[in-house]
């Protein structure tokens, strides 16, 4: 998995590329996410357009980021969720936990 990041209007956008299944890929995403949180960046969007699937380890990383951010007055939102991940969010009822958007622009705009 490759991971790039950028900032759009004060919102951090993380862009993982590849499947998230555990091991080094998952560690990378977890560390990057928490690195931004430590820098007091409280608005984070994860663009999932290039992640075909993830397993429960990937979901756990998203939840860990979301919980930490919410406890500090921030929020983590998801953009461009692929079909398989959407179906996993539905199966696990995490659709009720995450805010999802059809584009990065919409996700970023939702922070205003």
């Amino acid at each position: 998995m490759k991971l790039s990041s950028r900032e759009v209007n004060g919102v951090v956008v993380l862009e993982p590329k590849g499947n998230i299944m555990g091991g080094p890929d998952a560690t990378l995403l977890h560390e990057k996410l928490h690195e931004y949180i430590k820098q007091n960046k409280k608005k984070i969007v994860i663009d999932l357009s290039k992640v075909e699937w993830m397993n429960s380890t990937g979901l756990g990383i998203l939840i860990s980021g979301l919980s930490t951010l919410r406890n500090n007055g921030g929020e983590l939102k998801l953009a461009n969720v692929t079909d398989k991940i959407q179906s996993l969010l539905a199966i696990t009822k995490l659709v009720t936990v995450f805010e999802t958007f059809d584009s990065i622009d919409e996700a970023v705009a939702s922070f205003k």
Binding site: N19, M21, G22, G23, P24, D25, A26, E52, W53, M54, N55, S56, T57, L59, G60, I63, S64, L66, S67, D83, K84, L88, I91, T92, K93, L94, T96, V97
Partner: protein, 144 residues
Amino acid sequence: MKKPVKKNNQIVVPSNLDYLAEVDKFVEKKLKKTGLTKSQLADIAISVTEAVTNAMLHGNKKNPHKEVTIDVEVKPTEVVITIQDQGNGFDPEKVPNPTEGDLIKVAGRGVFIYKALMDKVEFSIKPHDGTTVKMVKEIKPEKK
């Protein structure tokens, strides 16, 4: 990193999550010509990585000297995958339903997910002789 042992339709890896990608690649290669859709292949990939993760972490308790064996059997109408650890008998059925209670738990969804994604899942638990998870995906055109 030690090389995984591959033999026909079997791959054996140490209990280290760094091997997950290798297992995923091996299974993907074995299922290439089965006619399974991209979505069905993703269901299998997710399920295998879940079961192998559990085998490494909960079955073998991350003991690097204990291994996880993955067998892939392609039949005309179904794919059968078995994942076996060398632990003391981890009972996946005892994992609580993650959709009840606190939804924000970081872990505990693996078994629930592969039971939902695969057509059949069976467990065989032998104390002192490990847990075997047998999962089946039927080869059939996906419903639209």
